[in-house]
């Protein structure tokens, strides 16, 4: 297969970014076309991925540094969808900011291509570069706003991100030193052959890997940056961070751990580590979320708890072979997709509301039902899905993950998870209560919705509903994706 064809989806996104730079510089009065160029690039990227699904996949490209498998394709679709929603949700905000329009979309698209490479990379060097390619535009975007809070968010994210990257790099260096290769599959066979003698080194190396990626996943104890960055960054960027880089980090960790580090003497260790981190993340995230008065901060803490939920799935994968591998792995992928739809829907609704009321405080959401019935219903629906109550995709996501954990004999973790869902219901539903039962302030005007925002929030919410009614297509896509990985057990 032609190597340009292989990186087609990323290339389509990057070409769109290039066209935007040219439009911005050469025909500035056509700037309003820019978001549509971005959307076209993302659509082309998705179509290219569709063409693979029909043409079949290829494993060994660019000297084995990139994989073109069902797993990568699943995430290509996910990232194209996430980025398209972000672009739609950004149109109003960027126009209102009135500056640097082209560059904003260029950075969003570049980050998207980095996320895609991350899902497909099969080699430590490529993984690291793809991670930086997705991170550096996000650092800049977090500091995009004009206020001090946004600059603080950008700087904090950059500095802590740099530390996380260096820990990751150290872990990679140790793995390379032990195995003499950076290709995941070769590391896998090397570890399976000689790993048992060098278990302590592998534990240190993978701890460093977890620390590096844990920063992107926003799991405890690598979560310190989350509330400040989520609150300070422009809301469209926060939405991007909360679903995009989180999903990509889970994608790459799942691939590394199951292509390179899956021998049994290791996976039992990981299972325990993942399980403990999952439990702590859920508990800390949920407890801290309860006391928040700023909705973006609240969603920041809740995203820590959600990352804990996803880790329950990873713990299940490592604990049991065979059946649990499939259940846990597909559960993780299903959860990531459902969470992406849900969280995006919630954030886009918040973008629309906060643009008009100029506030992120939860108490200013009082009586939103009377000011904008559409946004209030959509936001409520997404919050219900985040809690995991039917009729939403979030319900199935939690069922699949917890089911996998029970199969893997992690009942204690499931109990903690269910208890935490109950706790999370408290703060998610208190926003809903505020919106429907609270009284709006005297002078409160109606909140109107622009077509692009309505489209974005509508699409995300319909996704949440559709995947509740018919979860099977998404689940079977997740299953075949996870079987595309090559476990070495």
């Amino acid at each position: 297969m032609n190597s340009l064809d292989v990186v087609g989806p990323q290339l389509a996104v990057l070409i769109a970014a290039g066209i935007i730079v040219v439009i911005d510089a050469v025909v500035p009065h056509q700037r309003r076309l820019i978001p549509y160029v971005a959307l076209a690039g993302l659509a082309a990227s998705a179509l290219w991925t569709v063409s693979w699904v029909s043409r079949g996949y290829e494993d060994d490209i660019f000297g084995g540094t990139l994989a073109l498998d069902e797993y990568a394709a699943f995430f290509y679709f996910l990232f194209a969808g996430i980025t398209a929603t972000i672009v739609l949700a950004s149109i109003d905000w960027v126009e209102r900011e009135g500056r640097r329009q082209g560059e904003y979309y260029v950075l969003v698209l570049t980050a998207c291509s980095g996320l895609m490479f991350l899902a497909a990379a099969r080699d430590l060097i490529t993984i690291f570069l793809a991670l930086e390619l997705s991170s550096i535009p996000q650092y800049i975007l977090a500091g995009w706003g004009k206020d001090e809070k946004s600059s603080e968010a950008g700087l904090k994210y950059l500095l802590l991100g740099a530390i996380a990257s260096s820990l990751l790099l150290y872990g990679m260096a140790l793995l390379y030193g032990l195995t003499g290769t950076t290709l995941l599959t070769e590391i896998g066979s090397e570890v399976a052959a000689n790993g048992a003698d060098n278990r302590s080194l592998l534990i240190v190396a993978t701890t460093l890997l977890i620390a590096g990626f844990g920063f992107k996943m926003a799991i405890v104890p690598f979560q310190m940056w989350v509330p400040d960055v989520y609150q300070g960054a422009p809301t469209p960027v926060t939405a991007f961070l909360s679903v995009g880089s989180k999903a990509a980090a889970f994608a790459v960790v799942t691939r590394i751990f199951f292509e390179a580090l899956s021998p049994e003497f290791l996976s039992n260790d990981w299972s325990m580590v993942f399980a403990v981190i999952a439990a702590v993340s859920m508990i800390i995230g949920n407890i801290m979320a309860i006391v928040q008065t700023d909705i973006k901060r609240m969603l920041g803490y809740s995203s820590i708890a959600q990352a804990g939920n996803i880790l329950v799935g990873l713990a299940a994968v490592s604990a049991g072979g065979g059946d649990a591998f499939k259940l846990g792995g597909s559960g993780v992928l299903f959860f990531l997709a459902a969470y992406a739809f849900t969280n995006l829907g919630a954030f886009v609704a918040i973008i629309a509301i906060s643009q008009q009321i100029n506030s992120d405080r939860i108490k200013d959401y009082a009586g939103m039902w009377k000011r904008s019935p559409f946004l209030a219903v959509m936001l409520a629906f997404c919050l219900v899905s985040l809690t995991g109550i039917p009729p939403t995709a979030g319900f199935w996501a939690k069922i699949f993950i917890f089911n996998a954990a029970i199969r893997a004999d992690l009942a204690w973790l499931v109990i903690i998870g269910v208890a935490n869902s109950a706790v999370s219901a408290f703060y998610y539903l208190s926003v809903v209560k505020q919106m429907f039962l609270g009284e709006p302030a005297e002078d409160a005007a109606r909140v109107s919705t622009s077509p692009s925002i309505a489209l974005a929030v509508g699409a995300a919410s319909i996704g949440v509903l559709v995947f509740f009614v018919i979860p099977m297509p998404l689940l079977s896509a997740a299953e075949s994706a996870i079987q595309g990985l090559v476990p070495l057990t």
Partner: protein, 173 residues
């Protein structure tokens, strides 16, 4: 191969001492300018290790890029910022951080000592030509990723430092 005999071993310990002491100096120096000068010594020490490992090209790149470009850039940045920002600020976290680093170093030393590294006795250092070929064949994808990354970082850096006045002018044009 390279580390047998008195000469290489002496060089190794000397370089280790230089690198570690100057790295400590980077953290301890109260004056940021002194810290950068220590940083340069650290970079040179690391370059020495690369030569010891027969990686001459990497050693040269280390000196040219880190000492020549990165450190000089940091020096410029410090000299161009207001005087008040030129000192390393005091922090109460010094002692806990030192304890943590020592613990981390102890764990790493123990683990590295405990590991059966695959050692090689015959090693042909790759020439620059080999490196170039590898970069443009097997590693062409990461190589290109790095260039996209630099482009994005460049665009972002320009955006971050532009003043509101420049942007206002831009909007008018």
């Amino acid at each position: 191969m390279a580390l047998e005999g008195f000469g290489p071993a002496f060089a190794f310990w000397l370089l280790s001492a230089i690198t570690l002491i100057s790295a400590g100096g980077v953290m301890m120096a109260r004056n940021l300018l002194h810290a950068v000068l220590f940083l340069i010594v650290t970079f040179i020490g690391v370059a020495g290790f690369f030569i010891l490992l027969s990686a001459e090209f990497i050693a040269m790149a280390q000196v040219v890029i880190y000492v020549g470009a990165v450190a000089v850039l940091i020096l410029f940045a410090i000299l161009l910022t207001p005087r008040s920002a030129r000192d390393n600020s005091e922090t109460v976290w010094g002692a806990p951080a030192a304890l943590l680093s020592i613990a981390l170093a102890a764990v790493l030393i123990f683990v590295i000592h405990d590991t059966a590294w695959s050692e090689t006795n015959s090693f042909q250092a790759p020439s620059v030509e080999d490196l170039g070929r590898a970069l443009l064949s097997t590693w062409v994808l990461p190589f290109q990723l790095a260039s996209v990354l630099l482009t994005a970082a460049l665009i972002g850096a320009i955006m971050l430092v532009r003043s509101p006045e420049e942007e206002a002018e831009d909007a008018l044009s």
